[in-house]
Amino acid sequence: MSSLEAAPAPVAWQPAEGGLRTGLGAAQENARRQFAAWTDREVAPFAGEWDRAGATPRSVIERMAAEGFLGAVVPAELGGTGWDAVTFGLLNEELGRGCSSIRSLVTVHSMACHAIARWGSRAQKEAWLPAMARGERIGAFGLSEPEVGSDAGAIGTTAELDGDAYVLRGTKKWTTYGQIADVLLCFAKADGKPLAMLVDLHAPGVTVEPLTVHGTRASMVAQITFDGVRVPKSDRLAGPGFGLGVALSVLELGRYSVACGCVGILRACLDASASYAATRVQGGSVIGLHQLVQAMLADMATDWRAARLLCLHAGWLRDQNDPDAAREVFHAKYFASTAATRAALSAVQIHGANGLTDDYPVERLLRDSRVMEIIEGSTQIQQVTLGRWEVERGASDGVKTAQAQAGGAVGHATSRQVGAGASTQAPGLSG
């Protein structure tokens, strides 16, 4: 898989995947097929087992690293595969179809890698990224705390400068893969302002406690406590005042990853439900002939297509460094995560009582889909953010209209009032 950079063979015409033509380039379509085949072979058959065990086997992580998945956002010159955003999205989509926990590993590890690649010094990049791309060091994202979720500006973890090191005190909660992570992209306050730092989770003073969650159960969530942990000043990623900005920029990648993962959940719900509806016989016919079942399948199939196109659009914008990418990622995540929940609910309904057992994958898909509406910005945070942007746009358009009507003599008070209301809240967190 890591040979994707080599010029791919042209893709011969084939029926569009799921009937959806997406305009993917040959390299991207080849990559998607490889991701799909890998997921079918290495992930989907075992996802239920990992879920029940509440853990991801180390051997799976090693195979992911060998395929280049853990270096997906690491530049090639630092040992990564450096895939474009669309290809990264396709990886998340296919892995998400098989197992949301495995996809979550790619999400949080890539968030840590991305922060270092984007904001790190040369020394930090060389110290961390090659080993992270090889999977020898696992990264995680540490923003949420026991009392701090969506209001990221209120973090209570502190970093007090003492000579050439910061002394870190506080607790991070809901840290995805925190049980096995080696380095945490951690946010703490210094002199009352958030900074970002890379914390070695094997350092003295770090305590990692496993947490039990009932969605993405194999994602090895942890609570991490820092009791006077000394973090070298050279491991600081962003000074006081820039930590939250780094968090928000990294969360955008995470949000995109989760949105694409939700497309995978949608497809898994659809595939399981279509198969079940076509074979489950009740009253002398397969239940797929019942129109109320068909209605649920129709909604699922349409939502999958819509979510996929929103994610691809957001990915294309990210690849072009388009400033609208941030907004489109919000749209993609909002739609895909809520659609995934709808699809999972319908999938369980179609399966009846069977859908509530672990003999079928849909109960896991339902538990996992609920997580997606909470992490990387809850559904409500997405709604507030998207709604506020529309109000800002409306206010701006209103000013332009008024200016046109008044010959340009109108000020900007309305738009400024709305713009100033733009919150310093982080749009939600997952770890």
Partner: protein, 80 residues
């Protein structure tokens, strides 16, 4: 256009009805939020062709028009 003028023009998109002095604290105006800080970094990088790295992510480097222009000058000078 001189760097300070480019910086002023960028900032005027966010701080619309206030005449910002070159030595005035941008973050104390109440007009901007945390995401703005990263937009400002992105603007500085793309406009002036420099790379802002972790050691540059200090609020004092971005607090005023004067400070931003000084950072740009240092980074451009270092790159020559």
């Amino acid at each position: 256009m001189e760097p300070k003028q480019q910086i002023r023009e960028f900032l005027s998109r966010f701080i619309r009805d206030h005449q910002l002095a070159d030595d005035e604290d941008i973050f104390a105006t109440g007009y901007v939020n945390s995401m703005f800080a990263m937009q400002l970094v992105q603007f500085v990088e793309t406009t002036f062709g420099i790379a802002v790295e972790s050691e540059d992510l200090e609020i004092d480097n971005f607090r005023t028009v004067d400070a931003i222009a000084a950072l740009v000058g240092r980074k451009q000078g270092a790159a020559v």
